[in-house]
Symmetry: none
Subunit: 197 residues, 4 copies
Amino acid sequence: MSERADVKRQLILDKAAEVFAAKGYRSVTMKDIVEASGISRGGLYIYYDSTEQVFLDVVKSMDEAEEELAGSLSGRLKDASAAELLVWFLKEQKKEILKGKNSLSVAMYEYAFECKQEGRNSGAKHKFETATLVLEKILLKGDENGEFVCDDPKGIAANMMYAMEGMKVIARTVGITEKKVDKELVFMMRQFMEVED
Amino acid sequence: MSERADVKRQLILDKAAEVFAAKGYRSVTMKDIVEASGISRGGLYIYYDSTEQVFLDVVKSMDEAEEELAGSLSGRLKDASAAELLVWFLKEQKKEILKGKNSLSVAMYEYAFECKQEGRNSGAKHKFETATLVLEKILLKGDENGEFVCDDPKGIAANMMYAMEGMKVIARTVGITEKKVDKELVFMMRQFMEVED
Amino acid sequence: MSERADVKRQLILDKAAEVFAAKGYRSVTMKDIVEASGISRGGLYIYYDSTEQVFLDVVKSMDEAEEELAGSLSGRLKDASAAELLVWFLKEQKKEILKGKNSLSVAMYEYAFECKQEGRNSGAKHKFETATLVLEKILLKGDENGEFVCDDPKGIAANMMYAMEGMKVIARTVGITEKKVDKELVFMMRQFMEVED
Amino acid sequence: MSERADVKRQLILDKAAEVFAAKGYRSVTMKDIVEASGISRGGLYIYYDSTEQVFLDVVKSMDEAEEELAGSLSGRLKDASAAELLVWFLKEQKKEILKGKNSLSVAMYEYAFECKQEGRNSGAKHKFETATLVLEKILLKGDENGEFVCDDPKGIAANMMYAMEGMKVIARTVGITEKKVDKELVFMMRQFMEVED
DNA sequence: AATGAATGAGCCTTCATTCAT
DNA sequence: TATGAATGAAGGCTCATTCAT
C-alpha cells in the first residue's frame, strides 16, 4: 500500500521475472524468489502466498507496461496506412518470436498448459483472440482502401496468427533463425500484397 | 533378464505414459510412476534413474510404434497420388492437434522447453524437420505431376508446419474447435489446389 | 501513560480473554491476540512480552472483578444463615461447572498443567484451597448453630470440592448435563442436611 | 505389517509416550518424536501422519495393555467379595491419581479438551462411564450380599467418580499428598461400610 | 531382480520478535 | 507510544535415492 511496499513489491517482481525467465514456471520455488530478491523467507510471504501469485503479478505488471506503450503508439498509428500498421504489428510479433532467454514466454506456456489441464483460464485466450482481431482489422482496412488484395481477411488473419504462434513455440523448443522468420513473414504478406525480397 | 525385464519395462512405460499425459513432464515424480505402475520404489530404479529417463523411453517407444505404423503404410502409399498423401498427412496432423488429455504433447512441450533452456536437444527438432521435409516432398510431387499448382513448395511447407504447430499449442493453452482446424486446413490447401468446401 | 495505556490494556485483555476462551491456552499465539485486539504487532509488545503474560493478566483482572463482586456480597452475607451461604456457594460452583465455551476454564487447566510440570505455580492452588476453606467454614457454622448435622466438616468439604472439581473437568472433556449436576449437589447436601428433591 | 515394522512402531510408541508424558499433548511436535525415537524425519511419516495419530496409538496400546491386565485379573476376581473388588478398584484409582510425571494423564486431558472444543470425541467419555458402571456394580453386589449398606449405589458411584476425577486433576494442577487421597478414600467408604482408620 | 523401509535434503509456511519510522 | 514491515528460527511435509533383506 505504502510507497515502501510498492518499491519492495516491484523489486520482488523484477527479480522474480528474471527467475521465471530463466527457469520457466513450474520449477520455480518460493525459495528461488527469496534468494533472487534478497528478501527474507518470511518477508516474501507478506506480499505473496505462492509462486503462482508472484507469476500472475509479474505478468500483470508486464502487460500494463506493454499497454502503456501501445497506448502511446495508438495516437501515432491512428492515421497510419494499413501497410504501416501491418509492419508495426509484424515487427512486434517478430520481436516476440525471437526474444529468448530473458523472456517469460516459456513460463507463460507452462502456466497456460497447467491452467488448461485444470480447467482454469490463464488469460492467454484473451491475448490471442485480441491480437487476431487487431490483425484482421488491419487487413480489412487495407482491403477497403486498396492497399491489399485480400478476399478472406478472417482466414488470412487466422493463418498468420497460427503460424506466428507456431514460430514462437518452435523458437523455444527447436530453435529458429531470424532469416527463417523473415522468410515466413514475407511468405505471409505475399498472400495479399506485393513484397520485394 | 530379457523376457521378464521387457514385460516389466513395458508395464512401467505404459503406466508412466498415462501419468505424463495427465500431469505433464515437470510435475511428475518418481513416486507418481511407482504408484501408477504398482512396482516397488527400488524396483523402478533398477530400470530407470530419473523421470527424464522414463520419459525419454516413453517417447521412444511411442515413436517406434508410430514408425511401425508409418512403415506399414509406406508400402501402400508409395504409388499413391500426391493428393492422397497430402490428405493422409493432414489427417495425422489434425489428429495430433485435437487429441487432448490422453496425449503426451504437453509433457513433450515442457520437456522441449527445458532442453532448449539448458542447451540440450530433445529430439523435437528432428521430428519437426522430418515432417516438414515429408510435406515438402508431397507438394513437390504434386507440383511435378500437375496435381497442385505450387511454385514455392518450401515456403508453403514451412507456412503449413508453423501454422500446424501453432494450432497444436493453441489447442493446449487456449483451446480450439475442430471446425476452426478444418477451416485452417482448407485455407492452407487453397494455396495450391482447388478445394470444395 | 496512564489513562490511555489503561484503556488500551483493557481492550487487549478483553479481546485476549475471548481468544483464550475459544482456543485454550497453549494454542494461542501473539498473532491471535494481535488480530483479535486490532492492535499492531509491535504495539502489543509494549504491554506484554508473551502470551503467558497476557494470560496471567487476563486471569488477574477476572479475579479482581470477582473479588469486587464477592466483596459487595460479603456484607449482605455476614448475617446470613449457613444454609443461605451454602446455597450461594453451590450456585456459584454450579455456574462454574456449567459455563462452557465462553469460559477461560480450559485455558486455566492447560496453564496449570504446564506450570505443574515445570514446577511453577499457577495460582490455582490458592484458589482451590481458599474455596475449600470457605466451604468448611460454612459447614462449621451450620453445625454449630444446628442448621446442619455434620461431624466431619473438613472431610465433607474436601469431598465436595473434589467432586466439584471432577464435575468441572468432566463437563469440559466428557460433557455433563445440568440434571446430573443437580443430582450430585443434592447427594452431597444430604450428607449433612435434609433436602427435599 | 511385518515383524520389523511392528518393532519399529513399538519403539516409536514407547519413546513418544515418554515425550507426551513429559510435555503434554499440544506442545509435542513431530520433531520431538523424531528426536526421541532416534528415527529419521521421513521415517516417522511412514508410520504416522501427525502427532494426533501417534498419540491415539500410544493411548490405544496402553489401553490394550491395561485390558490384558484386567482380563487376567477378572478370573481371580470373579468370586471375590464386593469388599475385595472395591479395594482393588480404589487401589487402581489411587495409583492413577498419584502417578505423576511419567503418566500420560495430562496429555490425555489436553487432548480431551481439544476434542470437546471441536465437537469430536476422545474416548474419555467411554472410559469414564465404564468405570462408573463397574463401581456401581460392585456397590450393588455389596449391598445385596450384606457387605455394604448402601441405598443409592448410583448416587454414591457418581459422587465417588467425580471426587476421584477431581483428585486426579488437583494432583496435576495443585498437587495432592498421598495422605489426602487416603483420607478422601476412607471418607467415601464410610458412606456405606465400616472402616477403621 | 525385487522389495519397501529408511534416510536426509529441500521446500513450504507460520510466528515470535525486532526495529526503522 | 504506535506501527507494521522484516527477519529468521522452527516445524511440517514430500520425495529422490539408498540399502538390507
